[in-house]
């Protein structure tokens, strides 16, 4: 055994944030995706959108400087930016469904090799929390997921087909996990980058479907 460690949450989020292109409109889901906002884009301008009706908002407010009327979709207080706009829920989801969002980053319980994913209901529980995820998943130009590679008890979350109720069909393009960066191609999962000191065979063993290995496989890129 080595003392290798899976990637931490911020590193997983940073890796997704590096994919954002200059000028993109970005919607971040609750939980780990929120951490993407901490990544500093030196040469790119990113426009953050929140489905509660907020476009072009700024960083998280520290305690004491918050405006109680200004929250992101996770209910966290954020700071205004010059050029920020607010809108009602009707307009916000009109914008989302009609393709103005370039990327939505979401958390998930499961992602399948065909791009399906599940993030709103766990088995054995009645009901769940759909929130804006289904609208974002079908409306955004790109759907990226950040999640741990396995459940806490070691079960694979990257699967041939999802077992949990779906959020959307065939939309996920990229998954950042604590073991690497996985692209979803027409032929299934492709491991593009891997956590330091891990071997592809170890990642495959923790994946519930075939995992192709990129010919130019590299270590996961980190910030700075």
């Amino acid at each position: 055994m080595t003392d290798k460690q899976p990637l931490d949450r911020q590193t997983m989020a940073d890796r997704i944030a590096m994919e954002f292109q200059d000028g993109w409109v970005v919607n971040l889901g609750i939980g780990m995706p929120t951490l993407c906002a901490n990544f500093v884009h030196a040469d790119k301008e990113i426009v953050y959108q929140a489905e509660n009706g907020l476009l072009n908002y700024g960083p998280m407010a520290i305690d004491g400087e918050e405006d109680r009327w200004l929250v992101n979709a996770g209910g966290q207080y954020v700071l205004p930016l010059p050029g920020m706009a607010t809108m009602d829920h009707g307009d916000s989801f009109a914008l989302i469904r009609s393709g103005y969002v370039d990327v939505t980053v979401l958390g998930a319980y499961e992602v399948a090799a065909n791009g399906d994913f599940a993030n709103w209901r766990i088995l054995g529980r009645k009901g769940g929390g759909i929130g804006g995820a289904m609208d974002l998943a079908v409306g955004a130009k790109n759907v990226y997921v950040i999640m741990d590679h396995t459940t806490r008890d070691g079960q694979a979350r990257l699967l041939e087909r999802c077992a949990l109720p779906l959020t959307a069909v065939g939309v996920v393009k990229l998954v950042s996990t604590n073991l690497g960066l996985v692209e979803i191609t027409p032929s299934g999962f492709l491991l593009r980058e891997i956590a330091p000191d891990y071997e592809p065979e170890e990642v495959q063993a923790l994946t519930g479907a075939d995992l192709a290995i990129a010919s130019d496989l590299r270590t996961v890129q980190t910030a700075g």
């Binding site: 609750i30 939980g31 929140a50 489905e51 509660n52 009706g53 907020l54 918050e66 405006d67 109680r68 009327w69 200004l70 929250v71 979709a73 996770g74 209910g75 207080y77 205004p80 607010t86 809108m87 009602d88 829920h89 009707g90 916000s92 989801f93 989302i96 469904r97 209901r121 766990i122 529980r125 009645k126 009901g127 769940g128 929390g129 759909i130 929130g131 804006g132 995820a133 289904m134 609208d135 079908v138 409306g139 109720p165 779906l166 959020t167 959307a168 069909v169």
Partner: protein
């Protein structure tokens, strides 16, 4: 001119009958009509069908939200985008009653909830949305293909009353919201037969609000109640 101003929250909700369908604005705190919710708890109407983003997280103390009416067993059904908290470890008062089969729920995507409310206040009989195709949400719904893509048929969601929390209004009932307090307010005000607005600021004379800056025109509002001076307008939602 009809006087829309009510002196107390209790007076503004006094006539709401058992079994009413009520919309509640608010998202993650801002825009939650906390004083109207507390007044309806005192009033005691039962069998309420609540249309809301979420059926409430706390419902007590400073953090009065729909959870207060849930705990008081005044809610029979919710139409919402959440019936459980986002994280499985977090608890909502509603989830327990729902698991026990004591309340009904119609769970739907948030954008579908918003558009169904919008349609109800826009004279639209039905609409097709791409959201939910291929998921449990599509069960029992018409699927129709337009230009090579599948869509679900969804129906409007009207209400008897809307409880909306806004920032200020003029005496005619033209309303403005502040920042993300706006959320469901404008679409709910249009979709309900009677819209009751809880206001942060004192009511101003007609003409004080620039016509170009009105978010909800007066035709959509029926009752106005101002949060008393000295009382917190928007509570801090983190605990």
């Amino acid at each position: 001119m009809k006087n829309k101003q009510y002196d107390t929250f209790d007076a503004a909700v006094a006539d709401i009958p058992d079994g009413a369908t009520i919309m509640f604005s608010g998202f993650a705190g801002p825009g939650t009509p906390r004083n109207l919710i507390a007044a309806l708890t005192r009033q005691g109407a039962k069998g309420i069908h609540a249309i809301t983003n979420s059926p409430g997280r706390w419902g007590d103390g400073d953090l009065v939200d729909l959870g207060m009416l849930v705990r008081a067993r005044q809610i029979a059904k919710v139409s919402a985008a959440f019936t459980a908290a986002t994280h499985p470890s977090a608890k909502m008062p509603f989830s327990e009653l729902y698991e026990a089969g004591e309340v009904e729920a119609e769970l739907m995507p948030q954008g579908t909830l918003a558009e169904r409310i919008r349609a109800a206040g826009a004279g639209i009989a039905a609409f097709y949305t791409p959201t939910g195709v291929g998921t449990e949400i599509a069960e029992g719904k018409e699927v129709r293909n337009f230009n090579g893509r599948d869509y679900l048929l969804e129906l409007p969601l009207p209400a008897d009353y809307a409880f909306v929390h806004a920032h200020r209004a003029d005496e005619i009932g033209n309303v403005q919201y502040r920042l993300t307090q706006r959320n469901f307010g404008p679409i709910m005000a249009r979709a309900a037969r009677v819209t009751i607005v809880e206001l942060d600021e004192p009511i101003v004379p007609a003409g004080e609000i620039d016509p170009d800056a009105v978010h909800t025109p007066s035709i959509f509002t029926d009752r106005l109640v101002v949060i008393p001076e000295g009382q917190v307008k928007e509570v801090k939602n983190q605990r």
